[in-house]
């Protein structure tokens, strides 16, 4: 039996999931960083206070790393309030989720826990297990030196091996190290050649200290860069006159790749059209996986209005999500039409400009009689305001009450004032989106919002996702 309270709970959870997917506490087009973090902090406190189990369960969904860290931190800070059963369940979820988090995020979390003076037994156990599962402690000791050391200290853990212990806590004790990475780190203090054996971020500091010209440094350190570092530094290397940093675009994740493409000047995009389009398409094919060509006739309305610029700290993020969705939908659909709000039709040359005539574009989209209509927009419909909502309402109530066309709105921007992503219309489900790769899962989640699904189904869904997450984490453990 569904009570009113259950419906409210289900609504609250969906709202929180949307926020946890989109909000990063950074400046957005319409809100400052302060407003964003204030809004997010409130949501976390509200969820933790009212629905602790569901709050922890959200960890299993594709929420962004920033919110994973916030959730884990709040759960560990309030360990005393949880029951034994809750603690066990949360502990398993946290361990599984931390395994898939980038290490710098986890070290950031550990440092935050240390600053907040959270040092309960569960926190120490989680830190111990995570650190034990790290493949190369020497690399962590060099790359995340301060945070690694602080984590060991905070969790009362001995370093793996006497040499590592000396490296961290008694740096003067040894003349040389047997581990090659530690030895390179020692030599990099006075020998230029040694710094090219170090990870890029560590070597950068040494290079600056030894006055290595940037162009020379970038060219020689290129083989040591991670995948995303090559993507990030490629243009900068070209500007400095260093040789090509070989970024293998075909291996990049879709949304990152879209961000990279949009960061290029339009002339470069025109010149490298074949390469960039090919990379985007192959990334989209990988993201689509088994769902390729299974979505039928799809029309997308994609927002490239001025507000898709995002902000100085999230440059063109909403537009990059739209571009990535464009390529992914082209793979998922077997008949695909894309409509950009500006009316331009060359996706590769997209740039944020002009108003958001969403209503008009949705009309054009409905003209193509799709079986699925996907709208990717920040929801600031302004030319004229509210037309999109009206068109969707009239379409749902008068023209398509049988729901032949399924409509879903994906919103990449957290609206701090509304504590949610901005909705277009109550008749259409809205889901937050961070990476276009998650789109199939999000569309699944958005159906919960549309059908006013109850709490029981939502809880079951979260349980299912948590089981999948644990299985994945276990699998990862075995392969290592």
């Amino acid at each position: 039996m569904e009570t009113f309270g259950d419906l409210v709970a289900a609504d609250d959870v969906l709202l929180f999931v949307n926020a946890a997917i989109t909000a990063t506490g950074q400046r957005e087009f319409h809100a400052s960083a302060g407003e964003q973090s204030l809004s997010l902090d409130f949501l976390h406190a509200y969820m933790l206070g009212n629905y602790r189990d569901l709050y922890a369960g959200v960890l299993a969904l594709d929420i962004n790393d920033h919110n994973v860290v916030l959730i884990v931190r709040r759960l560990l800070e309030t360990s005393g309030e949880a029951t034994v059963e809750q603690r066990r369940r949360e502990g398993r979820l946290i361990a599984a989720r931390l395994a898939s988090l980038p290490p710098q995020r986890v070290y950031g979390l550990f440092s935050a826990l240390r600053r907040a003076r959270v040092n309960n037994r569960r926190t120490r156990a989680i830190m111990r297990d995570w650190l034990a599962a790290r493949p190369d402690p020497a690399l962590d000791a060099v790359k995340y030196r301060g945070a690694f050391k602080a984590a060991l200290r905070h969790a009362h853990l001995p370093p793996a091996g006497a040499e590592l212990a000396d490296f961290l806590f008694r740096p003067q004790a040894r003349v040389r190290y047997a581990a090659p990475l530690l030895e390179s780190w020692r030599r990099a203090h006075f020998e230029k050649a040694a710094l090219y054996d170090l990870p890029y971020t560590v070597a950068e500091g040494f290079a600056a200290r030894q006055g290595v010209p940037r162009a020379v440094f970038l060219e020689r350190i290129a083989p040591r860069m991670t995948r995303l570092e090559t993507l990030r530094l490629r243009e900068s290397a070209l500007r400095h006159g260093a040789g090509d940093v070989p970024a293998d675009l075909t291996r990049m994740p879709l949304t990152r790749l879209a961000s990279y493409v949009l960061s290029l000047p339009v002339e470069d995009r025109v010149r490298r059209r074949a390469e960039l389009t090919g990379a985007l398409e192959s990334a989209a094919r990988r993201a689509a996986g088994p769902l390729r060509g299974r979505w039928g006739k799809v029309t997308a309305v994609l927002d490239d209005s001025f507000s898709a610029y995002g902000s100085g700290v999230k440059r063109r993020r909403p537009l990059a999500v739209a571009l990535a969705c464009h390529h992914l939908l082209a793979e998922l659909a077997n008949d695909y039409t894309a409509l950009w709000t500006s009316g331009r039709d060359d996706a590769l040359l997209a740039f944020p400009h002009g108003p958001t005539p969403l209503g008009r574009r949705i009309l054009d989209a409905l003209d193509t009689a799709p079986s699925r209509l996907v709208i990717v927009s920040d929801g600031w419909d302004n030319a004229p305001p509210g037309l999109a909502a009206e068109v969707l309402r009239v379409w749902r109530t008068r023209l398509d009450p049988a729901r032949r066309t399924s409509v879903v709105h994906l919103n990449p921007v957290h609206d701090s004032g509304g504590f949610d992503v901005r909705r277009l219309s109550p008749t259409v489900p809205t889901a937050g989106i961070r990476d276009a790769e998650d789109m199939p899962a999000l569309v699944e989640l958005a159906q919960f919002a549309e059908g006013r699904t109850g709490l029981a189904e939502l809880t079951a869904y979260l349980e299912d996702r948590a089981a999948r997450l644990r299985a994945r984490a276990a699998g990862r453990g075995r392969t290592r």
């Binding site: 108003p355 009309l363 030319a383 004229p384 305001p385 509210g386 309402r393």
Partner: protein, 388 residues
Amino acid sequence: MSAPAPSALDLTGLRTLPAQVWGAVRLVPLVRDAPVEDLRLGARAYDAAAGFVRTGPRDGYFSYVPHGFVATWTKDGSPAAAYGTRLSADRDPAPAEWMPLRVHRRPARREARDRLRFLPLHLALEGYLALHFDGPSIAWEEWSQRAVRNGLSPRAEQAYAGAAVDGLAEALRVFEIHPGQCGVLLYAADALAAAFVVPHPDDYRSLHATLLQDLYGDLVYHYAMLMPPVREFRADLGGARIRSLADLRAAASRQEAEWAEFHDGTMAAGLLQETYAWRTVYRLGRFTLSRFLPAFRPHEENHIGEAITDERGRVAYLKTFRLSESQIRRGHLLDRLAAHDWHLADTAADFGITETALALRLENAGFGSLLRQDVLDHHRRRRREGQA
């Protein structure tokens, strides 16, 4: 200087598009289907926040000049030749630096062969009292020697910089400029604050941010600060008679047309449906730079401003400033005085008040120094003794 018959602003060629709202600020974009190509404006940023403006050899007065514009005329092919001879006689010497302040010789002056630099709101604010700049036209004995000789100098009016207007910076930042947009009407709490029109969309894009450096009247400042956020005019399609997508599309178009009609006929009526007294400042080719003054009707919207119009009177460039209620009252007072050739008794009769009341009203409005001291003292005494 010619004085054309009073006429309304002619915004032919500009279409009204849906407004964008941020807090108490509403921005209504105006779009040109065919931009004016042979008149281009560019912004000239002034480093100094305070501009020092000199009028003639006498003492200058301080005036805040946020920015000056440079008007450039081009005629496809041979731009300079067409006007070269006419504008080459540049007799004004280059402005000399005066202390660390910038010195402007005159608010509007010829600068280079085909360029006219002018300081828009400075002009407009000056224009407010410039109508009566010469002071009393007949030296009735009541007017002081100073008023007769120097007119209404010094002329200073109060205004707020756009950056001080609450929420305006944010509203301008998040505003999404339409393709082809050449102008904007700015509302604070749905009171029309300013109108800004340029000849070309490229000009608009570069000048959009300078709206923040402009001057706004105190009404705008207070409305933006004190009023709650205004509501969007959200579309409402009804739905009872919509049976197909084509109906839906037609209903959407109707919405847009209704908005434009409502806006032009109701929201902007105070600007667009009034007639103005025009004063030509400068003519160049087919363009005329002029200032306009409203009818100074108390308790109504009154906008002053300047415009560049083409040979058919259509607005190519427009910038307005909304007067505050006290400014309107002062303007009204001067307007009536001028209508009666500055004769105190006649003007008082027109207002239906005594001469004493009019003299004290002049004093209250800040024009006390125009009257001879003994005349003013006489009227003060009469008021004290209760004779009038």
